[in-house]
């Protein structure tokens, strides 16, 4: 809502020295979102005067036709002589009144005017176009004024070029502030001044002699006022003041009847519609549309109506989408006639004014259904004062009579009885309790009265909201009115005392530890969008029946390419890897922690419990059963060098082992031992893929995979060569996590170290050999470490040698060499029997 300050002053006697900024500050404090105070004419300096064109000499020797004019500017130039002005525009004639800017003036944009020679003549100023004056941007044509203004008159005042306009973003609960009347009420309260309510008009009662109207759906239309005006001059134009107010408010002047309906809507907040009486056929009917009915709206779009649309119709069918937009068929026709419709060859002289009140939801749905926002719909959606309809219609009639030379029709139609606003019971100290401030009953009652409420009672107040405040339905709504008018800035700052808390949950702490550990290991966190498409699965090489392809689909994705929600973190992470690589970062290690969405296909349709009570436990369970599982995952991707080459020597490329180690880093933070096993699983390299498992409730549970990506995936996704990845289910890891770590008892006796090299088939996993050594070595074993893997001809094809350092230590004595050797031999024996190993060199 754009509010010209000059217009606002018509309803509130704001002190002259109060400017737009101060009004804005007060209105903001009262809860209106004033986004901008626009200063019109701030960069304009006169003289700018009305001139009358006395003579025009056409200059034809130039590329374009040029006019050399003599213009009477009265005494404004100090001489009383006509002003000689060269002009390139042609839409004016001798005798026309125009706006002349004289030398010395500065036009908007820092455009300084001086007398200068042009096209062979001295031009002493300029005849102004609408655009140069900032009063319109229709074309470059000259602004021709109505003839009644005298030459020499100050055009800055005449055109109201100096003003301030408050641009207010009206929230959905304050529909009444989509009017001058509503904003003026807030301004009056904010400054403690009286309000001249423009809706306080004498309105004649319905007399049964007005234009016939029938309301078929009284729930959707609870009031309909129709008035007629006859004999309006089709050539009557809106006066400058009216045009300027519309312009400043952001509306374009169109024709007198349309301008008046818009003006009254801006003033009172009541959307009006003007019908050409001669083009109405029979009574006006308010009804639901028949499905499939057609209506061409004023924007010249043909629309097929929905059975829920509320329409205004006459005998021939719909003539308007109620509360949203009128129809082209019954549109007011301008004069001289514009051939918009063959039905209106003449300008409109007889007008039917509609001022109705429609159900906000019905209007909102229709506007949404037809993707048709309008000033009227915006107001009806937010709530229009149903009691203002009569005054609004009267105001329009008055203006049509005054400005259009029409005659008010005798009959008045006024149907429907809007439900009166509900009365709310309010404890007088309720606002105090909401605010934490002792306002006292007197302040509460006064503030509510300023809002327009009727208040009775002492400790328990009965508060009836005014007709323009349908939002005031609950005690807290009323409390808010008191708080905002007393000022939010007056609220003290106090701190509540929550009960003693328990800190973060185990899961939250784990997530932080994992993040820190991965960052410590050189990984950079990314937070990727969860939007993916079938293409993502194809790129990862997922088989057609892979459960990861079973994804949640959005009805309105941002991109039709990515309508699905991720079932794995990898697509987003790999995108980030590729993006970084494309931007020149070669050595990359990224991680992400986040939810994935894994529908099971067994989700049920969600229930919709009422909101007037707590949902039952069954209803809550049913709601949760409608949601797909959303496990939390952690994943990493790597490419390039894990350690770059440098002056210290050569670097080391990131490889499959780094990805698996990242999983171990995570598992360590969870206090879980990771079981690593060979696997084949997309999108990993079939020979370089590990399945990661943990023990949970006595079972081995798969928690993820790690390794090098399949070369085909690398190629398909355009990734750097040998990119690696890991993904783990954090929820399962957390569940598998042991309790507190048992503190080890440290033996201070000497360690006995024994090395052993075992030769096994290539296919035997090192993890199995190590497990066998551990099992065989017994409790003297302190640690096992694989320090070399060797393959070579002397071992035979398909064999490898694994060299282990075994450390033995007792808790209560120094081990003898024999004891250590015996333990080693036991370890080796177990390894031999379990894995078919042979002792190297034996």
């Amino acid at each position: 809502m754009r509010v010209p300050l000059s217009w606002l002053r018509e309803y509130v006697d704001l002190p002259a020295e109060v400017g737009g900024r101060e009004v804005a500050t007060r209105l903001i404090a009262a809860g209106l979102e004033v986004e901008l105070v626009e200063r019109l004419g701030a960069d304009l300096t006169g003289p700018l005067v009305v001139g009358q064109v006395l003579a025009i000499e056409e200059l034809t020797e130039f590329k374009k036709p040029i006019r050399y004019c003599q213009v009477d500017v009265g005494e404004a130039n100090g001489t009383g002589q006509p002003q000689n002005i060269v002009c390139g525009a042609r839409n004016f004639a001798v005798g026309d009144k125009v706006v002349v800017v004289l030398p010395g003036a500065v036009l908007p944009g820092g455009f300084k005017i001086s007398a200068r020679k042009t096209y062979g003549h001295l031009s002493e100023g300029m005849i102004c176009s609408t655009r140069e004056l900032g009063v319109g941007d229709d074309h470059d044509g000259i602004l021709v004024l109505p003839p009644e203004h005298e030459a020499g008159t100050d055009a800055i005042a005449l055109l109201e070029l100096l003003d301030e306009v408050l641009d207010i973003a009206v929230t959905t609960d304050r529909g009444y502030c989509l009017s001058m009347r509503g904003v003026a009420r807030e301004a009056a309260t904010a400054f403690g001044l009286p309000l001249r309510d423009p809706a306080l008009l004498d309105v004649p009662a319905a007399d049964g002699a007005g234009y016939p109207v029938r309301i078929e759906d009284e729930a959707a239309c609870d009031r309909f006022v129709a008035r007629t005006v006859t004999g309006v001059r089709p050539d009557a134009r809106s006066p400058i003041w009216l045009q300027r107010r519309l312009q400043k408010s952001g509306l374009r002047p169109i024709s007198l009847p349309v301008d008046i309906t818009n003006y009254v809507m801006l003033e009172l907040g009541q959307p009006l519609h003007a019908y050409d009486h001669s083009r109405l056929a029979g009574p006006i009917v308010v009804r639901r549309a028949a499905a499939g009915e057609r209506l061409t709206t004023l924007d010249n779009v043909g629309r097929t109506l929905h059975g829920d649309d509320l329409v205004i119709a006459d005998d021939r069918g719909p003539i308007g989408l109620a509360g949203v937009m009128g129809g082209a068929e019954t549109e007011i026709a301008d004069a001289p006639p514009v051939e918009r419709s063959p039905l209106a060859p003449e300008g409109t002289t007889d007008i039917v004014i509609e001022a109705a009140h429609f159900d906000p939801v019905t209007v909102a749905r229709a506007a949404r259904r037809h993707r048709l926002g309008s000033e009227a719909a915006r107001r009806f959606e937010r709530g229009v004062d149903p009691q203002a309809a009569g005054a609004a219609a009267q105001r329009a009639v008055d203006l049509l009579v005054l400005l259009g030379g029409g005659t008010a029709g005798a009959g008045v139609t006024d149907l429907g009885t809007p439900a009166p606003p509900a009365t709310v019971e309010l404890r007088a100290d309720h606002p105090d309790r909401v605010a934490g401030v002792a306002y006292g009953r007197e302040v509460v009652v006064r503030r509510l009265q300023e809002v327009g409420c009727t208040v009775t009672g002492t400790d328990l107040l009965a508060v009836t909201a005014p007709s323009w405040r349908p939002d005031l339905t609950d005690p807290n709504d009323l409390a808010e009115e008191v708080l905002r008018l007393e000022g939010y800035e007056a609220l003290p700052a106090t701190l509540p005392r929550p009960p003693a808390g328990r800190g973060l949950t185990e899961g939250q702490r784990l997530r932080r530890r994992v993040g820190r550990a991965l960052a410590g290991a050189g990984y950079v966190e990314t937070l990727n969008y969860p939007f993916v498409g079938e293409k993502s699965w194809d790129g990862l090489g997922l088989p057609a029946d892979d459960p990861r392809r079973q994804a949640v689909r959005l009805a309105n994705p941002l991109s039709e390419e990515e309508p699905l929600l991720r079932t794995t973190l990898l697509p987003g992470l790999l995108d980030a890897l590729r993006r970084n690589h494309g931007r020149g970062s070669q050595d990359l290690a990224l991680f992400e922690t986040g939810l994935v969405f894994r529908p099971t296909g067994r989700e049920t349709a969600p229930v919709r419990p009422p909101v007037t009570r707590r949902p039952t436990d069954e209803e809550i369970a049913a709601l949760d059963a409608s949601l797909p599982p959303q496990p939390r995952r952690v994943a990493v991707v790597l490419a390039g060098a894990r350690e770059p080459a440098g002056w210290w020597g050569s670097g080391r490329p990131a490889e499959w082992a780094d990805a698996i180690e990242a999983a171990r880093v995570v598992a360590r933070e969870a206090g879980v031992e990771l079981i690593v096993e060979r696997d084949q699983h997309a999108p990993w390299h079939p020979g370089r893929c590990a399945a990661l498992r943990v023990r949970l409730d006595g079972e081995r549970r798969l928690v993820g995979h790690a390794g090098e990506l399949h070369p085909r995936v690398v190629k398909a996704l355009g990734l750097p060569e040998r990119a690696c990845a890991m993904e783990l289910d954090l929820d399962v890891l957390q569940a598998a996590g042991g309790g507190p770590v048992a503190g080890p008892a440290i033996s201070t006796f000497p360690v006995a170290t024994q090395d052993v090299a075992l030769v096994v088939d290539n296919a035997v996993p090192a993890a199995e050999v190590e497990a066998a050594l551990r099992a065989g070595a017994g409790e003297l074993l302190e640690s096992v470490r694989l320090f070399d893997v060797f393959t070579g001809e002397q071992l035979g094809a398909g064999r490898k040698s694994l060299a282990y350092a075994l450390r033995f230590r007792a808790t209560d004595r120094t081990l003898t060499a024999d004891e250590a050797t015996a333990a080693r031999e036991a370890a080796v024996a177990t390894a031999i029997s379990r894995t078919g190993a042979t002792l190297r060199g034996a």
Partner: protein, 373 residues
């Protein structure tokens, strides 16, 4: 050491002439002094104190002397050997110090060499900023509550007093899960705020409830310099007996002081949200200019555009209708809530000018933030 010699050998006695012992001692001292390095010193030591050295031989002969001569000879030889050993130790220490100094100089390196052998990782600043805010409230006794990102409309809208016709419930603003026909009537949405977690918290706990709800949220904005369809939110909910708007104000003040330092304060401006009543927009004083750039064209502030205030988010007193939907008695309990987006907070706290830098996961953006913020 040789055993006492009982059979005299008069010939050898000659070797114990005093001047010869002095000479042997002096020769040893001179040789040690002349040794240029530890190797030369070692050789000199062998030559002058080794088994075949004059002093060693002399020492060995002491036992062969007649008893009346032994004491004097022993004393003389002992003194000489003592002097030689002492001289050796001194010279050795000297030479070792020299060697150590030389080696340490030789081992000197260029300590200015760069060492990016293990490139640093980092956590995302949105994660760490969120944690920082969580910690402020955890310290006050709040719990951190979380919930699903894909949510039933009942939790995301209905329970929060957004009726089915509320404009936020349109496909213009909200991501809807497609039903089997592909239309947005499944009743499931990507949560548009973390408020459904507030609802879940009220349903799963008995008042008093003090929770902070951080998390990812979704709205159908295209990514540009100031918008992102996926963004982080932190919301707070307190429900207890006797909570007021003043408690909300104090809690907000405490938060901005914890994040930006002493003297920070907030401002509330009336606004409208369905889930709070009264509702307010919350601003905080600009942490950089502290409002001093307002009306001072010589000191423009880029952080707040010389407005003096920075818009944080929305807040208010929990609408009693929400309490009712969650089974909390509004006659007994009241509450307050607020919520804001952390991308914006990150942008002005750290001078980030383009939202896309936060979103796109470029390591050059994230690395400098390290592990904490």
């Amino acid at each position: 050491m040789s055993a006492p010699n009982k059979s005299y050998d008069p010939v050898e006695v000659e070797a114990l002439k005093p001047h010869e012992i002095d000479e042997a001692r002096d020769a040893a001292l001179a040789a040690f002094a002349a040794a240029a390095d530890l190797e030369a010193l070692r050789e000199a030591k062998i030559a002058h104190t080794g088994d075949r050295s004059p002093l060693a031989l002399a020492n060995r002969e002491i036992g062969a002397l007649p008893p009346q001569a032994r004491a004097a000879a022993g004393k003389r030889v002992g003194q000489a050997r003592g002097a030689v050993n002492k001289a050796f130790a001194a010279r050795q220490a000297e030479l070792e110090t020299e060697r150590d100094e030389r080696v340490l100089v030789e081992e000197a390196v260029d300590v200015t060499l760069p060492y990016d052998r293990r490139p640093a990782g980092a956590r995302h600043p949105l994660t760490t900023l969120s944690e920082r805010i969580e910690d402020i409230f955890v310290a006050m006794g709040y719990e951190v509550a979380e919930g699903p990102e894909l949510e039933a409309e009942w939790f995301n809208f209905d329970a929060l007093n957004l009726d089915p016709d509320h404009p936020a419930r349109s496909t213009h603003d909200t991501f809807f899960v497609a039903d089997e026909q592909g239309s947005p009537d499944s009743g499931l949405v990507l949560r548009t705020h973390t408020s459904p977690v507030q609802v879940r918290s009220l349903l799963s706990r008995k008042p008093p409830v003090y929770v902070i709800c951080p998390g990812r949220t979704y709205r159908t904005d295209e990514l540009d310099a100031t918008h992102t369809p996926v963004f982080g939110q932190v919301e707070l909910l307190a429900v207890d007996e006797g909570l007021t708007m003043a408690d909300l104000k104090g809690t907000l003040d405490h938060m901005v002081q914890s994040l930006f330092g002493a003297g920070m304060r907030t401002r509330l401006r009336p606004n409208y949200f369905p889930f709070t009543e009264p509702s307010a927009e919350m601003d905080m004083v600009c942490f950089r200019c502290r409002g001093e750039s307002v009306g001072d064209p010589d000191r423009p502030c880029r952080t707040c555009s010389s407005e003096g205030w920075i818009e944080l988010g929305g807040c208010g007193v929990v609408n009693p209708r929400v309490l009712v939907a969650c089974g909390v008695d509004p006659e007994r309990y009241s509450g307050f809530a607020f919520g804001f987006g952390i991308e914006r907070l990150l942008m002005f706290r750290h001078g980030v000018t383009d939202m896309r830098d936060i979103i796109e996961g470029d390591v050059r953006f994230t690395r400098p933030f390290g592990s904490e913020i």
